[in-house]
Amino acid sequence: MKFKLSQQSIVFGLFVLLFLSFSAFLPGFASVGNLLTLVQNVAFLGILGMGMALVVIGRGIDISMIASLAVPPGFLLQMVANGQPLSSALWIALAVALVFGLVNGWLIAYAEVPSLFTTLATGLFLAGLGQAYLFRLEVVQWTEGMDGLAWLGRGSTLGVPTPVVMFAFVSVVCAIFLKKVRAGVFIYGIGDNPNAARATGLPVRPVVVLEYVLASLIGLFAGVVMAASVGSMATRIFNSTMIYDVVLVVVLGGIGLSGGRGGVVNVIIGTLLIGVLLNAMTIMDVGYSVQNIVKGIVLLIAILADSIINPRNEETAQQGDI
C-alpha cells in the first residue's frame, strides 16, 4: 500500500513536532490552563476559518469576512449603546449580515463576478458604510444593554473558556453541514468541478449563494463572541491583516484553494498550529519583528514540504493556483 503524505498530515506532523518540543523544553507550556488559553486566543480565527472553509471548498474565497466580523456586530453594539432594546437590535444586525451574504452570493453566483473581486469590493463597501454612518467611534464599547449576550464570549463551561466552546460548537455545526446535509455535500461537488456539478443537475447557483450567506452569518457570530470577550468591537480590525490569517489557517490546514477538498478537521489543525506558534512565542517573550520572521519561516516550510512531497500534476496544473 502506498502511503501518501497530504498537506494536512504534513501540517499535523509539524504541529505535533512543535507541540512536543515546546512541552518538553518550554516550562509552563504544557499546563492545561495554558493550552486552554492557547485555543481561546485563536478561537475567533478558527470560527472565521470555518466560514472561509465553506466558501473555499466551493472554489470561492470571501475576502469580506472581516467586514462581516466588524460591521454587523459593531452596529449591534452601537444600536444598543444608543438605547435600542437588544432583541430588535439583534434582528437588525442579523438582517444586515443576511442581506450582505445574499448580495455577495448573488453577485458571484448569478452575475458571475469572480469571488475575489466581489468580496473585495463588498467588504470595502460594508466597512466604509459602517465607518461613515453606523458607528460614532471606531471602537464601539460593550454597554450594559448588551449583557444579555455576554454568555457568548465570557466565562467558562466546566473550566473551558466560552470562546473555545463556541469554536467547538461552530466546528460541529459545520462538520454536520458538510457531511450530512445535502447542500453541504453539494458544495464539494461544485468545488471539485462546477461544470460537471451543473451538468448532473445540482442547484449550483443557490448553493453558492448559501455559502456566502453562511460565511456572513458566521462572521456576525464570531464578531459578537469577540466583542463579548474583549469588551468592545474595534471596527478598525477591517484594516488589519486578519483576513490573511483566516485564509492562512484554511490553506495551511490543507483545504486547497482549488476547491472540493478538506473539511473542518483541516481548519482545526491549521488554527492549532498558528495558536501553538503564537502562544509559545508570547511565553518566550519573543520580540514583535522576530515573531513575524518565525511565522513566515514555518509557513514556508509547510508549503515547501507540500510541493516536494506532492509535486504539481496534470490536474493542479490545469486548475492553477490563486
Binding site: T37, M226, V230, S240, T282
Partner: protein
C-alpha cells in the same frame, strides 16, 4: 480651562442680595450724576480699543487644515471639535482631512492641503518619517505647521502634545510602587513598535526600570494598539505568572483588552493596570471607576486643543515667519486614579453627534 466642562460661579443668597443692593446704589448714583449735568451724557461715550481691529482682520477668513491619523476615535474628534470651538467664532475655518489610518492617504491629503494654501496646518504624525519632507515644504511656502501629540523628526513652528517619556516614567513608577512587597513581576504591553509614541514611552519605562533592579519584566510585547491582541498576550502572560503584580500598558483604547484579560483571570484589583490616554469619559474615567484601570495618565484632549488654538491665533497675526522658531508645548499630564476619576470635570465627554 476647557470647553466641555461647565463651570458656574454659584453665589450664596447673601452675596446675591449684596449684589442687588450694589446695583441699586450704583443706579441711583449714576442717575443723580446724569441729572446733575447734561454734559456727562456726551462724556460717557465708549472708547474704541485700538488693537482689536488688527486682530479681527488677521484671523477672519483664515483657513486651518487638520490632518489626524484618523477621525474615528476620541482623540481625532476631540481635537477637531476643540479647534472648531476656539477658532470658528473668530471667523476662521477649520477643514479636516481624514486619512483613516493610511499613511499614504495622509501624505496625499497633506500635499493637497499645501496647494490650497491655508494659514496653518495641524498635523498628527503616524510616525517620525512620513510627513517630514511635507512639513518642510509647507513651512517654506509660508504655512505654519502645528504638530500634535505625535511628532515628526522634522520640527515645525510648534509642537503641542504629551511628553511620552514622562508618561512611560509615570505609569512605570506607579506600577512599581503598587508592586512593593509583592512579586515585583511586571509585564509591558506596547503599542505598535514603529510608532514614535510607543518607542518614547518605552524609553520612559526603561528609565524607571534602570533605577529599580528588583523589578523583573516577565513579558515585553507589542499589541499593535489592538485590544484583542492585548487581551491574548495578557491572558498568556497571566497563565504563566499568576503572581504578576502589575502591567504597564501604552494606550487605554488598547488596554481595554489588557484589563479584560485581568478581569477574566479573576485578578482585578490584584494586578495593577497602568495606562495612558486622552482622558475621555467612557474610555478613561469610567474604566478607572469600574476598576479596569488602576492608573490612567490623561493628556486632556480639550486642553491640548485649546493650546493649539491659542498658538494658531498668535501665529496668524504675523510677526514670526513659518519655521523661524521651533518650540514645544508639552501637555500637563493628569494621573487618574479612583480618588480623582469620579470628580466632575476629571474627564471630558465627546459631544453627541
Amino acid at each position: 480651562m476647557s470647553f466641555y466642562r461647565f463651570r458656574s460661579e454659584t453665589l450664596t443668597p447673601e452675596e446675591t442680595s449684596m449684589k442687588h443692593a450694589n446695583k441699586w446704589i450704583k443706579g441711583a448714583v449714576t442717575g443723580a450724576l446724569i441729572l446733575s449735568s447734561g454734559v456727562a451724557l456726551a462724556q460717557g461715550k465708549g472708547l474704541d480699543e485700538p488693537f482689536r481691529d488688527g486682530y479681527k482682520k488677521a484671523l477672519a477668513g483664515k483657513v486651518v487644515g487638520y490632518i489626524p491619523v484618523a477621525m474615528g476615535f476620541d482623540l481625532g474628534i476631540g481635537w477637531y471639535e476643540g479647534l472648531k470651538k476656539e477658532l470658528e467664532p473668530h471667523g476662521m475655518k477649520v477643514v479636516a482631512r481624514d486619512p483613516n489610518w493610511s499613511t499614504s492617504a495622509g501624505a496625499q491629503a497633506m500635499t493637497a492641503l499645501i496647494a490650497e494654501k491655508p494659514a496653518a496646518i495641524v498635523l498628527h504624525n503616524p510616525d517620525v518619517q512620513t510627513y517630514a519632507k511635507l512639513i518642510r515644504k509647507a513651512e517654506k511656502q509660508g504655512i505654519y505647521v502645528v504638530q500634535i501629540n505625535m511628532r515628526s523628526q522634522q520640527p515645525s513652528t510648534a509642537f503641542v502634545g504629551a511628553d511620552w517619556v514622562d508618561i512611560g516614567e509615570m505609569t512605570t513608577a506607579a506600577t512599581i510602587a503598587a508592586c512593593q512587597g509583592k512579586s515585583n513581576k511586571i509585564a509591558i504591553v506596547q503599542g505598535a513598535p514603529t510608532a514614535a509614541a510607543s518607542a518614547y514611552t518605552l524609553k520612559g519605562v526603561e528609565n524607571v526600570l534602570a533605577k529599580n533592579p528588583q523589578v523583573k519584566v516577565v513579558s515585553n510585547q507589542a499589541a499593535d494598539w489592538d485590544a484583542s491582541k492585548a487581551k491574548a498576550i495578557t491572558q498568556t502572560v497571566l497563565k504563566q505568572h499568576p503572581d504578576l503584580c502589575g502591567i504597564v500598558g501604552f494606550w487605554d483604547g488598547m488596554d481595554i483588552g489588557t484589563a479584560a484579560a485581568v478581569k477574566e483571570a479573576g485578578l482585578q484589583g490584584k494586578v495593577f493596570v497602568a495606562t495612558s490616554g486622552g482622558g475621555e469619559q467612557s474610555g478613561a474615567c469610567d474604566q478607572v471607576m469600574n476598576g479596569s484601570f488602576s492608573y490612567n495618565v490623561s493628556y486632556d484632549v480639550p486642553t491640548q486643543a485649546s493650546n493649539m488654538a491659542s498658538m494658531i491665533k498668535w501665529l496668524v497675526q504675523g510677526g514670526v515667519k513659518p519655521g523661524a522658531a521651533k518650540q514645544n508645548i508639552y501637555t500637563t499630564l493628569v494621573p487618574l486614579t479612583k480618588e480623582n476619576a469620579g470628580n466632575p470635570g476629571a474627564c471630558w465627554k465627546l459631544s453627541k453627534k
